[in-house]
Assembly symmetry: C2
């Protein structure tokens, strides 16, 4: 009974062998295929649930389960602690993922999900943008230059050849370090330019919003001189009351949520009525011909983060782990050959007659 | 950023050092103290949730979260797969537990929970029995001789000196191996006797029901000649429609659930109206004086399994792990010193100028 453990070092090695670009390409392709093959009766994915608290720090611990029927349960556990970057040099969002085999209930995989969450968030925007963006977009605009901005840039750059990447952040220090961080991607940094919100939103063919705007403080740009065929990836809103895109833009756009139930609760779709919400990501992929015409109109991908995306990423890491023989098998569950004896694992099972591990400190007297 | 991993071998070593009896004593004491100190505003524990399925096997995957406010979230993940014993020589219930620090969201502990679930289920019955059982009970009756029966016997034997242990199981093979399994406890096996339901329920001072009776097939004993001061630990019912104790017994008993909300849904309390349910385990412990009189009457502890119990056990394992320097620190989360760069962990951070782990297979051209 083994559980496969992938540590940070294993993920580093997988990425070293696959290459970051190839990994992103595979993430985009795997997510696209998962959406194309998705059938409602093959998965169960309830809306995430969790604990919100103010002590010892403002924070949130959530679990996002998904059941691939007949196969696996993938459970992502996420912590959101906004004080992390300043107080601990840690990302505000940390997560891990656990996969269980539904034939036996065994925990089969344990791995980080912080990195793959970034990757899948980029990949989801890429899948949506491939269908909804104009052909050959040349200008990418990014509002909010934190961690998510990097993977949006990465994923979209794998699909499109941008002439210009315009970025903006209300935090100047964050904007000014963006070029340097983008160098991890070996991009030509001269393509990246910090600019005003007005220039950015006027020039962008694709606009990604990846801000940490406060509740009630959105939207993060104005509905002014936008291109008529702009595609927006709205990535930042993930909480009731948190929005990034002006409602007037949404009202004249095709708005596609990743997971409608959740997007209505915490995404841009909060601003809309049921009948103003367009197809979800799965419908978009499965009926992409039907939405061809929208390439020439304003479109919005409302990305709140969906458990299916994390499931696909965990499978991808596990696939590469197996291919390269990375990860470590650990024996986690305290079970023995006799399922009726909860203490059986404390006895040496072989060779016969050997001493038990366990030597209780005194003999029980019950008589 | 480290996560402490406790494998089966670590738990074996902890038990080897502490002793199984001492560990059970500590489990009983820790659970008792946790109940005594419990305040509703210091914990959040929603009813467990999960997926039920029929493919590839009949089964259930559940998560049981509890939030110790200001400190930890403990998340237990449980699989229930009744085909495990026959098909895989595994217990039908397997579980693991994950603990997260609520100041940062870091996963701090990973460990098995299969063994500690057995222990805490025994310990919970011991805590309830200490308050509700007659003084000096001499005959323990156990109906259902599977894994849970062993820890009921163990826990109760740590509190009371029984003259006789009467056991019954509809599966004769299960009953006949019970003595042998009980030898793990170094008990005098001559005290244990297989007998009829009638003799068992007539003679028992404490009766534990630990069956896997099917839905709709309970109760598992008759309301016939029970002692007037019998205490029952009803452990088996954990599913809507699954019950073990005759309703007529419940109606003239003080019925104490571990976690009322859950017991009403899937425990013996299913058979009762709200006003027929007595104090829960916490109230029982906190107001034990008030319930002294019930030692001479029939009482029922309705044990469905509560996340607080698992939280206490995880803390106990972690306490001993730290004391003995057992467990292994692993680096799970893929993070770097720069929380704004999700790819930072792929670069060697030091010494300066060293080569990145990551060598993408081709240079990105975006211009």
């Amino acid at each position: 009974m083994k559980t496969r453990l992938y540590t940070k070092q294993d993920i580093q090695q997988i990425l070293g062998k696959v290459g970051l670009d190839s990994f992103m390409d595979q993430a985009i392709e795997s997510l696209y295929l998962a959406c194309r093959e998705y059938k409602q009766n093959r998965y169960e994915a309830p809306v995430r649930d969790g604990f919100e608290y103010k002590l010892p720090e403002l924070g949130l611990t959530e679990w996002m389960p998904i059941h691939a029927i007949g196969n696996l349960v993938t459970l992502k556990v996420v912590g959101y602690h906004p004080s992390n970057p300043l107080q601990r040099y840690l990302p505000s969002v940390l997560s891990c993922v656990f996969q269980l085999d539904t034939s036996s209930g065994q925990l089969v995989n344990i791995m980080d999900c912080t990195f793959t969450t970034s990757i899948r968030t980029g990949a989801a925007s890429a899948v949506a943008s491939r269908i909804l963006s104009k052909e050959d977009p040349k200008v990418l605009g990014i509002i909010g230059c934190g961690a998510q901005a990097i993977t949006q840039l990465h994923a979209l750059s794998r699909l499109f050849r941008f002439d210009e990447i315009l970025v903006h952040d209300t935090n100047l220090e964050c904007a000014s370090t963006f070029q340097q961080r983008a160098e991890t991607l070996r991009m030509d940094r001269s393509l990246i330019r910090i600019t005003s919100l007005n220039e950015l939103s006027r020039k962008a063919d694709i606009l990604c919003t990846t801000t940490s705007v406060d509740i009630g403080q959105g939207p993060v740009f104005n509905d002014l001189n936008l291109k008529p065929d702009l595609h927006i990836n709205a990535v930042g809103s993930d909480f009731p009351g948190k929005i990034e895109v002006p409602r007037s833009v949404l009202l004249r756009s095709l708005v596609c949520p990743d997971f409608a139930l959740q997007a209505k609760h915490e995404g841009e779709c909060q601003q809309l009525n049921e009948n103003q919400i367009g197809p979800d990501l799965v419908s978009l992929v499965q009926q992409s011909d039907k939405y061809q015409g929208y390439k020439n109109l304003i479109t919005v991908f409302d990305s709140t983060g969906w458990a299916l995306e994390d499931h696909v990423m965990a499978n991808l890491v596990s696939h590469y782990g197996q291919q390269f023989g990375l990860g470590e098998d650990i024996e986690l569950n305290c079970v023995s050959d006799d399922p009726k004896n909860p203490y059986g694992f404390l006895l040496h099972q072989s060779p016969a007659g050997s001493k038990p591990v366990l030597q209780p400190e005194k003999r029980l007297s019950t008589g």
